[in-house]
Symmetry: C2
Subunit: 471 residues, 2 copies
Amino acid sequence: MIPSRKKVYVEGSRPDIQVPFAEVELSGGEPPVRLYDTSGPGSDPEEGLPQLRQKWIEERGIDEKCNTQLHYAKKGMITPEMEFVAIREGLQPEFVRDEIAAGRAILPNNINHPESEPMIIGKNFLVKINANIGTSAVSDSIADEVEKLTWATQWGGDTVMDLSTGKHIHATREHIIRNSAVPIGTVPLYQALEKVNGDPTKLNWEVYRETIIEQAEQGVDYMTVHAGVLLSYVPLAANRVTGIVSRGGSIMAAWCLAHHEESFLYTHYRELCEIFAKYDIAFSLGDGLRPGSIADANDEAQFAELRTLGELTKIAWEYDVQVMVEGPGHVPMHKIKENVDLQQEICQEAPFYTLGPLTTDVAPAYDHITSAIGAAMIGWFGTAMLCYVTPKEHLGLPNRDDVKEGVIAYKIAAHAADLAKGHPKAQEWDDALSKARFEFRWEDQFNLSLDPQRAREYHDETLPAEPAKTA
Amino acid sequence: MIPSRKKVYVEGSRPDIQVPFAEVELSGGEPPVRLYDTSGPGSDPEEGLPQLRQKWIEERGIDEKCNTQLHYAKKGMITPEMEFVAIREGLQPEFVRDEIAAGRAILPNNINHPESEPMIIGKNFLVKINANIGTSAVSDSIADEVEKLTWATQWGGDTVMDLSTGKHIHATREHIIRNSAVPIGTVPLYQALEKVNGDPTKLNWEVYRETIIEQAEQGVDYMTVHAGVLLSYVPLAANRVTGIVSRGGSIMAAWCLAHHEESFLYTHYRELCEIFAKYDIAFSLGDGLRPGSIADANDEAQFAELRTLGELTKIAWEYDVQVMVEGPGHVPMHKIKENVDLQQEICQEAPFYTLGPLTTDVAPAYDHITSAIGAAMIGWFGTAMLCYVTPKEHLGLPNRDDVKEGVIAYKIAAHAADLAKGHPKAQEWDDALSKARFEFRWEDQFNLSLDPQRAREYHDETLPAEPAKTA
């Protein structure tokens, strides 16, 4: 929790629905401002968080086949999770249920991750952001990754993807999930690849399925599955400036070419749906052929895959599995809107989840900025969640400072999009801060800032005297 | 000049037209890439720069009344300045002349600033950026400001505004202009106010006129004039969340209210035009009623002033004086396009020059990012120059690092806009860098970056070994 903010809870229709907000108290007789709060209740990393949702899950009873929020929503139920989300967003529970039932929003929460505070991803809600963390062969400390999780959610990360690839991949993930109040996403293909010693051609459905179940049991809330990289699409990337840049996409393309067979993720997709339905894991349908440069944006490789992702979305819905669809990447501004419009049309309004996009390739070390521009725009146009990009993108692994810079840049993009979309509660925050600024209530201005500490520091550098802040 | 770039010159139709580019040599048999270069020839700050344009000015002869590039363009002349700009932008000299003649572009260069390398501001050219520097009562060192000028133009500042308000305002400006290869802008009202001991009600046309001539003689290339803040508009800002936030706007509003008279800048505007015509100073028509918050964007106060700026644009053109028009400020994304469309309509396509705009108010200390989002979009929509915002905006005075962060964020915004506008040469840069990235030519990727040193540093933090860069 950011200092100078106070955690408050709003109770729902039953006493165990307690929705957190970060309250900022103001001077000058102004009413306090309540902000959406992703920081979680806090925990001893070795103990893990309390199991907030356990009772709700048990009350419903665990079905052998399907336990998804989509399933309940279609039946007309308003689950405690949906009510929690409604209070969080300032909307009606019926609206939340209907958006989930229509597939326009997802509420990702594996039944084995009862520690999570429910949140929703959909274009008619606040724009969400994801932060990637993860150990690697170069750097792997479990404590560091749990610390990064806490850090990312303190600054506003709505979900966290654990992209670990190091030695202690299972244990790292276990610690992350047990300490996470936000949904956790993974790319199971990365772990499956380690199980076959890094050789993509050795992958097969069995090792992948085993990995999925291992992660499902731990409580992963959504998984990126690159099932849209079909054998026939691989040649479409041949004449690109930057070929295939998605790691998952490259792995599956290598597999398809080596075996000259259709992707096992595609041919076994219905089995995946059965597993996902049981645990209530949401699909994040990966865009393995996303463009890796301005030159490759919106090309046939990208859109061919998108059409397949539309087909896979419909199949997932047959199983009442929640789905979102991943998008690019690198796109110049004038080609951004087409991405959302096409995805929404082809995938029948399933939530869109994009990486940036970066609006130019020329600024490595500043790609949190090149991509915040694209992210704000694509959020306004209807993208439901934005995957952050840190200053280290293309260059190295993000450290603690990089994670913060990435999250802040993306909170800016998401909030700018909320304002442009006209989310009913978004502008209150801006108005409160601007009013404080105009009235020289400096402390209020700092406390309302996305980053109170830095705002205060920058002010004090040139105008350190206390009178200058209260004048 | 950024290390790893080599300054090269392209000669025009006469040997004294030497247009600078920053050339990046590449490995792997790739051709070198030439980038637009604002860094200037370099100088001893005490000596000043060579007088590149002096001969061109003398050849034309100095007219008693009018020496503007607009005047020459209307007569059908292609000046050496226009040819210089054409080579710099990769366009035809006739096109440059015609855009200036139509008032759609300006080539700001006071005849008393012969050190400047000609550049052009107009929607059919590369999007330009301005960096503000300046001493203040809190901090004033001439050497620091000259150093900031050099620093800002090294990173890509196309013009610099000297907003100094300290004791040595005349001497500071003199050093800045004599050492500047880019056009220098000022807000003469600030100095005029100091001449009346900071009391806005004591201002009058005589002290303002004297200040204009003082600065004109020194060689200021464009001046912000808040002549659109009319007496009748002041009450329109009364019910705003953030009232009048422009310093120039506040000063003129205070004057109008105290005297209950029409603004002396408005009533003496034709006299100003006569002075500007003689020196070839360009108007930057100030938006004294620009919105200071999301809540106040696109309101009647703002657009009433804009209509007056349209009227003043036409009057300036009667005198063959070059004009650009300033714009906001703080604007949510969905209201940005209306700003450009209205300004272009009302001001008959005179170049638009905007501050950001910031797309949310909630992130002080990160307003280079909140505003880079708006700047990129407004640049794409047709804004010709973007005034940078540093991380210190609203909080304090920018230091050297802040200036760099602001310039880089705005180079990103401007270049993203150039890509989206489809400027014929913009994408070459992205393609060269992306190709280097895909082929693991790390050194080429670094050298092509907006900030080669930081890109290299970030890479080396996690992957320091040389083989990782040449693999």
